[in-house]
C-alpha cells in the first residue's frame, strides 16, 4: 500500500518541524561547546529521551521486530538484560567521572585517565566505525524507502543526507537531541496503535501466546519457546536463539551491554550535554524507564507478525518469503503497518520510521564530528587554534562525515561483504572496551601502558576466537573458523556472546598484568578520574526519590519484575 496525500502531508509536517527546529537553534550556537555539547545545558528528561532514541535507529526498530518474529519474547533480553542494568551502572557509578572530569568526549576521558595513545586508538576506531555504521543504516533505509514509498535508492539517500546535514549544520548537537525527542514520541505514537490492533486481532495476549505455541511446536520447540524469556534458556538446543543462560548473562548482559552503553560516545554524549552533574546522572536512568517498556512496542509486533503468518486465514496477514525460501523477518514492521493502518495512520507510522532513520544518522554524525574535532584534529593536527576555528572545523567535519556516510552507503549497496567484514572488525575492537573502563575507573593502579596493551590483546583475542570457532552449519569464512575449527557453537548469537567474553577476559587480565609491572601515575593526578580518589557525591539538593541510587534501584526492581512475569 503506497502512501497518498494525507500520508505525505503528515510526513511533510515532520520535515518542516525538523528543519524549523534547526533554524530556530542556529542563533544559539556561538562556541564549540554549544555545537558539540549543547553548551552543557540540556534538562535531564530531554537528554534521557535523546539517550534512548540515539540508539533507536530504524535498523534497531526493524531488527528488533525481526528478532521478535524469529526468536519471540526472548528478544527482550536485549533490553532487560542487555541494556537496563548497564544504563543504571552508567548513571550511578560512571557518570560522576565522565561529567565530573569535564572530558568533552569518551576518548578524551581515556586521555585524562590513561595517556595519549589509548585515546588515539579509541578515537580513530570510533570515528571510523560511526561513519561506516551511519552509511550502513543509510543503505538499509534506501532499500526500505524504495519498498514503502517507491523512492529510488539515490533519492532516499541524498534527500535524507541533505535534511540531516542542514539541521546539524544549523543547531549542532542540540538539533540532533531535539530531533531525537521528536522521534521518541513519533515511535511511541506510531507503534502503540499497531500493537493494539495486532493484539486485538489475535484475541489479546492469550490469543497471541496460543498461536505462538503452534509456531514453536512446528519448529520442534516447547510450546512456550516464543512467549517466554528464561524458561527455555537452560540448554541452547531448546530455544530458537541457540544460546544458554550463562552466555546471555555474561556475554550479552555483562560484556556486550556494558561495553556499549557505558563506553559508546554516541549515547554517552547525550548525558555529557546535560546541564548539571545531577541531570547527567539521571539521563541514563530516565532513559531506562521507557527502555524497559520498549519490547512491547518493537518486539511484540514481530511476534504478532509470525503468529498471524502461522495461522493464515484468520486475519489474512502473511510475512513474505525471501528468494532463498526463508521468511523475510525484516519486513515484519513494514508489512504490519500496511496491513493494519488506514491512510492517515499509515503516514504517522512511516513518519516514525523516517524519523528514526534520520535521527540514527544524526546521532552518528554528531558523535563523529565531536571526536574528529576534539580528539583527532585538535589533538594531532592543529593544537592551539581559537575556539571559533574548532567550531568551524566541527561544521566542516559534519559535511565530510555525511559525505563519507553516503559513500559508505553506496559501497554497501555494491559490495555487501566489505560491510560485513568491517562490522566484524568493529565488533573485535569494541569487545574488550569495558574492561579498560572498569579498571580505569575503579582501580587506581591501572596504567596507560596496561590499558593500551589490554585493548590490543583483547581485540586480538576476539579475532582469534572468531577464527577458531564457527556456528553449527556454517562454512568457514566470514562467519568464523578461518584459522582452524576448534569449537562449534549452536548459533551465531552464542558465538558472538562468547567472542565478547573472551575479549573482555583477555583485556582485563593483560591490563592488570601490564599495569602491575609499569609505573602508576601519581595519585593527585587521578582525583576526579578514579573511584577511590574522588570525593563521594552528596546529592542532597534533590528529593530522596530523585537521587540516582534510588532511581537506579527502582528501575532495576521493575526490570527484575518484568523478567519474572515473562519468565
Amino acid at each position: 500500500m503506497h502512501p497518498r496525500e494525507i500520508d505525505w502531508l503528515i510526513m511533510a509536517v515532520y520535515f518542516v518541524f525538523v528543519l524549523g527546529v534547526g533554524y530556530a537553534l542556529r542563533r544559539h550556537v556561538k562556541t564549540s561547546t554549544d555545537y558539540f555539547l549543547s553548551g552543557r545545558s540540556i534538562p535531564a528528561w530531554v537528554a534521557g529521551l535523546a539517550f534512548l532514541s540515539a540508539n533507536l535507529g530504524a535498523q534497531e526498530v526493524i531488527g528488533m521486530a525481526a528478532s521478535g518474529a524469529k526468536y519471540g519474547m526472548a528478544t527482550s533480553h536485549f533490553y532487560w538484560v542487555g541494556a537496563v542494568p548497564a544504563m543504571v551502572f552508567l548513571g550511578v557509578f560512571m557518570m560522576p567521572f565522565y561529567y565530573g572530569s569535564q572530558a568533552r568526549s569518551v576518548p578524551e576521558y581515556l586521555k585524562l585517565r590513561f595517556d595519549e595513545k589509548t585515546r588515539g586508538l579509541n578515537a580513530i576506531s570510533f570515528a571510523t566505525m560511526t561513519v561506516f555504521s551511519s552509511g550502513i543504516s543509510m543503505y538499509a533505509m534506501g532499500l526500505l524507502l524504495n519498498l514503502l514509498l517507491g523512492w529510488d535508492f539515490d533519492t532516499s539517500v541524498w534527500l535524507s543526507a541533505a535534511v540531516v546535514l542542514i539541521y546539524i549544520l544549523l543547531g549542532g548537537l542540540t538539533s540532533a537531541i531535539y530531533n531525537e525527542v521528536l522521534q521518541f514520541f513519533l515511535i511511541v505514537f506510531g507503534f502503540a496503535p499497531l500493537v493494539f490492533l495486532g493484539l486485538k486481532d489475535l484475541g489479546g495476549w492469550q490469543g497471541l501466546t496460543a498461536r505462538l505455541a503452534h509456531v514453536a511446536t512446528a519448529q520442534g520447540f516447547a510450546p512456550q519457546a516464543w512467549s517466554s524469556t528464561w524458561s527455555q534458556m537452560g540448554d541452547p538446543g531448546s530455544n530458537p536463539m541457540g544460546v544458554e543462560w550463562f552466555g546471555v548473562a555474561m556475554g550479552l548482559g555483562f560484556v556486550l551491554s556494558f561495553g556499549y552503553w557505558c563506553t559508546d560516545f554516541l549515547v554517552v554524549q547525550r548525558a555529557m550535554a546535560a546541564h548539571s552533574m545531577s541531570a547527567a546522572r539521571r539521563t541514563p536512568l530516565i532513559a531506562a524507564v521507557p527502555k524497559m517498556l520498549f519490547p512491547f512496542l518493537v518486539i511484540v509486533p514481530g511476534m504478532i507478525a509470525i503468529a498471524s503468518t502461522q495461522h493464515t486465514g484468520a486475519s489474512g496477514f502473511v510475512l513474505p518469503h525471501k528468494a532463498d525460501g526463508t521468511l523475510n523477518y525484516d519486513l515484519s514492521i513494514p508489512m504490519m503497518l500496511s496491513h493494519y493502518f488506514p491512510h492517515g495512520m499509515l503516514g504517522l507510522g512511516l513518519t516514525a520510521l523516517l524519523a528514526s532513520f534520520m535521527s540514527g544518522m544524526a546521532g552518528n554524525v554528531t558523535a563523529f564530528n565531536t571526536v574528529w574535532t576534539y580528539d583527532i584534529y585538535q589533538a594531532y593536527i592543529n593544537r592551539g587554534a581559537s575556539d571559533h576555528h574548532y567550531l568551524n572545523m566541527g561544521r566542516v567535519a559534519t559535511v565530510f562525515g555525511i559525505g563519507l556516510s553516503v559513500a559508505a552507503a553506496y559501497v554497501a549497496n555494491h559490495f555487501n561483504n566489505i560491510m560485513d567484514m568491517l562490522q566484524l572488525l568493529f565488533a573485535f575492537v569494541n569487545a574488550p572496551l569495558f574492561a579498560t573502563f572498569l579498571l580505569g575507573m575503579f582501580w587506581k593502579r591501572a596504567t596507560g601502558h596496561g590499558a593500551f596493551a589490554g585493548l590490543l590483546s583483547g581485540t586480538a583475542a576476539a579475532a582469534l576466537h572468531h577464527g577458531v570457532s564457527l556456528p553449527r552449519g556454517s562454512v568457514p569464512g566470514i562467519k568464523g573458523g578461518w584459522l582452524a575449527l576448534l569449537h562449534a557453537y549452536p548459533s551465531e548469537m552464542a558465538q558472538n556472546f562468547w567472542t565478547a567474553i573472551w575479549a573482555f577476559t583477555v583485556c582485563f587480565v593483560v591490563t592488570l598484568a601490564v599495569s602491575l609491572i609499569t609505573r602508576p601515575r601519581a595519585e593527585n593526578e587521578l582525583a576526579g578520574l578514579v573511584y577511590s580518589l574522588t570525593p563521594r557525591l552528596r546529592e542532597t539538593d534533590r528529593a530522596w526519590y530523585a537521587r540516582p541510587a534510588v532511581l537506579g534501584a527502582g528501575v532495576l526492581a521493575a526490570t527484575l519484575l518484568l523478567n519474572l512475569i515473562f519468565w
Binding site: V21, H28, I42, Y178, H339, L348
Partner: protein, 68 residues
C-alpha cells in the same frame, strides 16, 4: 538551551492530531476495515491532540514563569 523543546513538540503533535482527526472525520468508513472497524485516525488523532496540548501547556507555563 534557548528553545524549549516542548513548544515545537506541542505544536507539531497538535497539527498532526488536527490532520488525523479531520481526516478521520471526513474519510470513507470503508477504509477502516483494515483497522478492525475502528476509525483509528479519529481516535488516535484525538490522543495526539491531547498530548500536543499538554506539551504546549507545560511549555507556556515554563515560559510565563520566567516573566512573573
Amino acid at each position: 538551551m534557548g528553545l524549549d523543546i516542548r513548544i515545537p513538540l506541542g505544536v507539531m503533535f497538535t497539527l498532526l492530531g488536527l490532520l488525523l482527526t479531520g481526516f478521520g472525520f471526513f474519510s470513507d468508513p470503508a477504509i477502516y476495515q483494515r483497522s478492525l472497524g475502528i476509525d483509528i485516525n479519529l481516535w488516535w488523532g484525538l490522543a495526539l491532540l491531547l498530548f500536543g496540548a499538554v506539551m504546549l501547556g507545560f511549555g507556556w507555563r515554563a515560559a510565563g514563569g520566567g516573566t512573573h
